[in-house]
Amino acid sequence: MANEVVLLDFWPSMFGMRVRIALAEKGIKYEYKEEDLKNKSLLLLEMNPINKKIPVLIHNGKPVCESLIIVQYIDEVWNDKCPLLPSDPYQRAQARFWADFVDKKAYGASRKVCNTTGEEQEAGKKEFFEFLKTLEVELGDKPYFGGETFGYVDLSFITFYSWFHACEVLGNINIEAECPKIIAWAKRCLQKESVAKTLPDQKKVYEFVAQMRKRFVSE
């Protein structure tokens, strides 16, 4: 049992996708286990008793939880190729800051756009665009958030792109019109094999989100 890696995950999860991209970048072989979040496995409950959430990486029997903590763990253990975080401490702090910013804002704003209506949805759309525009400014003219190469912040944020189509349809918004640089950046990221192979089809995600929306909104 040299290096046994198992990932407990759920296919549309923006958080789980981060781990899948990191594992692909590093060329790590692993066993993928799909969780039914309405019927969580005993393994998940045992490996993440505190939050009971995916993703969970199980490395040689030991669980690591929280997507960005898992990505940093992967980067530190498999440190012989494809560094995800920069080596300079200030650049690392900046990378962590922006990944944390994505964590704080993206999911909440996306959920409001997709799962609410009326005033709440309008507020969600405002939040969503504020968040995207702040990132657009940070990206500037760089090809990636990490500079010349795809890195930690790109990895943390690109997974939300798979939810953009759902947000556009359910929120009646046009992301490319408002934030063209973000869309251009996303398409650039999608040229990477690790990203292209990980991100699910946007229409599939839309179907999933539309189904989920029914639980929150009666239309």
């Binding site: 763990y73 200030y90 962590r96």
Partner: protein, 231 residues
């Protein structure tokens, strides 16, 4: 080393501000503490942290670093001659980061809820806080492996993350007439808290409970009269 090369923007009552200060003390780094006036934000703060406009901010040379735990990790990575704040083993690092995130996202969120809650809601938050402490007691056992701190022989990342809340924990105990850290239920944490507060790196920045209690009344009054916070 240029004097005033390192500045911390903050405020004495904030547990988040304590964190980089403890880390700098551990590394024996001199810094200038720039205190923000309660109720207003300085130009320097708004310039250094335009995204969140929050304290603490570490300014190293002319470079700002924001978010307390990110600052702590930065300090650990820059000043490598001092004692290490994070463990060297990647798995141990992941565990410390996990519990630090838990303390911030779940446990302290329940503590804050307790501040303004009434009746049934108050009881619910109190239960969450107590359950959280039971989990942290267990985590302490596993992380410390019989030693003084979550980090082992010396204060580490999780000690800093959780220990910085001890002042507010004591205030909460007084305001609610409850014992949160209890010799019967959380004996490990009780002793750990004493050691943490007595540590040389912590003593000078841990506010006195009485002072915090006074401040909490000022804060409560301001929150009652204040307009809803803008995000």
């Amino acid at each position: 080393m240029v004097k005033n090369d390192v500045k911390v923007l903050g405020a004495w009552p904030s547990p988040y501000v304590m964190r980089p200060r403890i880390a700098l003390n551990i590394k024996s780094v001199n810094y200038e503490f720039l205190e923000e006036t309660f109720g207003s934000k300085s130009e320097l703060l708004l310039q250094s942290n335009p995204v969140h406009k929050k304290i603490p901010v570490l300014i190293h040379g002319d470079k700002p670093i924001c978010e307390s735990m990110i600052i702590v990790e930065y300090i650990d990575e820059v000043w490598t001659s001092g004692p290490s704040i994070l463990p060297s083993d990647p798995y141990d690092r992941a565990i410390q980061r996990f519990w630090a995130a838990y303390v911030d996202e779940k446990w302290f969120a329940a503590m804050k809820g307790l501040r303004s809650a009434q009746g049934e809601e108050r009881k619910a938050f109190l239960d969450q806080v107590t359950e959280g402490l039971a989990l942290l007691e267990e985590a302490f056992g596993k992380c410390s492996k019989g030693k003084a701190f979550f980090g082992g022989d010396r204060i580490g990342l999780l000690d800093i993350a959780f220990g910085s809340f001890l002042g507010w924990l004591k205030v909460t105990e007084k305001l609610n007439g409850v014992k949160l850290l209890d010799e019967a239920k959380t004996p490990g944490l009780v002793k750990w808290a004493e050691r943490f507060c007595a540590d040389a790196a912590v003593k000078s920045v841990m506010p006195e409970t009485e002072k915090l209690l006074e401040f909490s009344k000022v804060l409560a009054a301001k929150m009652k009269g204040a307009p809803p916070p803008k995000n």
